[in-house]
């Protein structure tokens, strides 16, 4: 049975919503009633059926509409997709990874036939049927990274590994939580994380870098990160701050359920075989407060997490303006009952 792709928007009239089945598979990120940074990395292995971890590269009901939104972002601002000259080989690595994973996990939607360097790729949801020569850029309409990431949900940062550091040397970034590829391109791991509060002092980045530079081929890893977004807008970039920054002033007790979204990033980390680079797919999942409270455990827990969040974190995540209104709204869905450990709905 195939996925029923929704037709919806992430801008203007914001018709995005989750089906009841999709709410149940949302990657709720809190395993207890409080949140603090940790290097919460685990092996990226296939997880339970009907979860976002079922396949290593997740495709869901928002796929087609998200790809249309990406195309609109790129038409307005081509610099959201950049690849420094030495990163083309890593782009081919990524194309191979995404095509083989998608074709293996969703054969009804994607297929890949390889005869030597001659590859035939069919993407049925987007109506794409292309034959090309692997390794020959002239046989694709875009560079290999741009070609495949115009067909893949989530942002992609490709990091070159050298001098015991990681360098943000390529990426497709259109669904980001307020950071800019054009600003970060060419930076190393410590430079692009410089704005994050508290974590440097805790030594989080030194440990994380050591771990990431040792990620091995065939052993990808993952972590969850989160923030909140007003209106289901994928493109909350600094470039477009003028379009979405003001949304944060529009939250009222009456519209919290529809306007306020929990935004979870499933970040995974993969070693690319030919280039020895790393790719970080950063997949964004949005959940309306009205949708979140349909799961009583999540309603109780998110209320407690948001209420008790350290002020520096709330400030960094940009939640300050609507945090109190949202906490009050959520408090009506928290009867004080204990919650069970772990992420999943009861």
């Amino acid at each position: 049975m195939g996925i029923n792709f929704r037709k919806e928007t992430f801008r203007d009239d914001f018709t995005f919503r989750n089906s009841p089945e999709n709410i149940r598979r949302f990657p709720f990120p809190y395993h207890e009633d409080a949140y603090m940074y940790s290097v919460n990395i685990e092996p990226h292995v296939p997880g339970p059926k009907n979860s976002v971890f079922e396949h290593l590269v997740d495709v869901d009901e928002h796929y087609v509409s998200e790809m249309q939104d990406r195309a609109m972002v790129l038409a307005e601002d081509p610099l959201r997709c950049q690849s420094l000259p030495h990163m083309t080989l890593a782009g081919w690595d990524l194309l191979e990874l995404l095509m083989t994973e998608k074709a293996a996990s969703y054969p009804e939607h994607f297929s890949l036939t390889r005869e030597g360097d001659r590859w035939h790729w069919i993407n049925r949801p987007l109506g794409i049927d292309d034959t090309f020569t692997f390794g020959d850029v002239s046989t694709l309409p875009y560079g290999p990274m741009e070609y495949i990431t115009r067909q893949s949900q989530g942002d992609f940062a490709i990091l070159d590994q050298r001098d015991n550091n990681l360098w943000m040397d390529a990426g497709m970034i259109t669904t980001q939580a307020d950071w800019s590829l054009d600003f970060d391109i060419g930076m190393n791991f410590f430079e692009w994380h410089a704005p994050v509060p508290l974590a440097h002092e805790m030594g989080v980045f030194t440990r994380a870098l050591k771990y990431l530079t040792n990620i091995q081929q065939g052993k990808p890893a993952r972590r969850l990160n989160w923030t909140m977004t007003i209106n289901p807008r994928l493109d909350t970039s600094p470039e477009n701050f003028h379009k979405w920054g003001g949304d944060r002033l529009t939250v009222t007790p009456e519209n919290v359920g529809q306007k306020v979204h929990l935004r979870v990033e499933l970040q995974s980390f993969w070693r690319l075989p030919r280039s020895n680079a790393l790719v970080f797919p950063i997949r964004c999942y949005l959940l309306k407060m009205d949708e979140l409270v349909t799961v009583p455990k999540w309603a109780r827990r998110f209320h407690r997490v948001l209420r008790d969040l350290p002020v520096e974190l709330a400030e960094y995540k940009g939640l300050t303006r609507y945090r109190q209104t949202t906490v009050e709204w959520l408090s009506k869905h928290d009867d004080g009952a204990p919650t069970s450990p772990g992420f999943s709905p009861d």
Partner: protein, 321 residues
């Protein structure tokens, strides 16, 4: 969480005597199909089951990254080593099934380089065989300088010359030929990266000379696997697992820890990657540090040891494992 790597079940499909000291081994996937793609400079760890002893030795992949039907490695026989190379030479035969790790690259090309200047000594040629194949396929600019003891002991000199013509420069000790390193380092175009793999003395010579010529550190790359050295046996207490272990003369500390059923993370098993770094809880004796990972200060501190290549002599050693 252990870093480590996935394993591959392979069958030895060919063993070729390259010369008096070097044999080449070809591995294919036992269940058929292609092996994982890799990048030039990568190594695999080969597991050698020799009765009660299991040795795990890293070897550079020398086959082309573009052809992954098989992997090939070359092993130089070391008659006074701990027996890994002798096992490969004397016991590994065509048709044998073995276990190797996924490829790991700790000696990767810097793809920003405008030119790749490669310096190899002896069996240190193997990673360059893969790297030159990778670069040649994509029009990369490289130049190889390869020094061997004698013409008869020079591995793959002819095949390299045949493939790449005068991009390959050969030097033989028996003819008193020496790489003109000063001239080479003084005349490279801006954006050149240098790569060196060979005996420790050669690596030091190239690094020191490059530094003296003002080359930036991050343009100088080297592969420096120290093979674990045999030594006096010693006893160790593993505090976390509550085990007492004995490290034999021909065994590394890491191998003894593994033989006791404890699995520390590892990647290179040669003292460079840092994965198996282990805290020392207490000791009475002298460390024999052989790694390239810990700083001099850490070597003197008595607080850390790299069990893949380093040893200990003395009355007692307690590790946090």
């Amino acid at each position: 969480m252990s870093a480590g790597t996935n394993k591959l079940n392979v069958t030895v499909t060919e063993v070729v005597a390259v010369n008096e000291l070097v044999k080449r081994f070809h591995f294919e996937r036992t269940d058929g199909g292609n092996l994982p793609t890799f990048s030039g400079g990568a190594h695999v760890v080969v597991e050698m089951r020799d009765g009660d002893t299991t040795r795990l030795n890293p070897y550079s992949l020398m086959s082309s990254p573009l052809a992954t039907r098989d992997y090939t490695i070359s092993v130089r026989r070391d008659d006074v080593g701990r027996g890994g190379s002798l096992f490969m030479h004397n016991r590994v035969k065509r048709g044998m099934e073995m276990v190797i790790s996924y490829p790991v690259n700790l000696f990767s090309l810097d793809l920003r380089a405008k030119k790749h200047l490669m310096v190899a000594g002896g069996i240190g040629i193997t990673p360059f065989l893969a790297q030159t194949a990778q670069l040649a396929s994509s029009g990369g600019n490289f130049e190889l300088h390869y020094t061997c003891r004698s013409e008869s002991l020079g591995s793959y000199t002819e095949v390299l010359r045949e493939r790449y013509g005068n991009r390959v420069n050969l030097y033989y000790d028996e003819h008193n030929e020496r790489i003109p390193l000063d001239r080479l380092l003084a005349t490279q175009p801006l954006g050149t990266h240098i790569y060196v793999c060979g005996p420790a003395g050669m690596i030091k010579w190239v690094r020191d000379t490059a530094a003296a010529h003002g080359w930036p550190d991050d343009s100088v790359h080297y592969e420096h696997f120290a093979a674990p050295q045999p030594g006096t046996p010693f006893d160790v207490r593993l505090a976390v697992s509550g085990l007492e272990i004995h490290v034999g003369e021909q065994q590394s500390l890491l191998e003894a820890i593994e033989a006791a059923g404890v699995d520390p993370p590892y990647l290179c098993r040669g003292g460079v990657c840092g994965q198996c770094e282990t805290n020392v809880i207490s000791y009475d004796g002298t460390f024999k540090h052989n790694d390239h990972w810990l700083s001099d200060e850490e070597h003197c501190s008595g607080k850390k040891i790299m069990p893949c290549v380093s040893r200990f002599e003395g009355r007692s050693l307690v590790l946090e494992r």
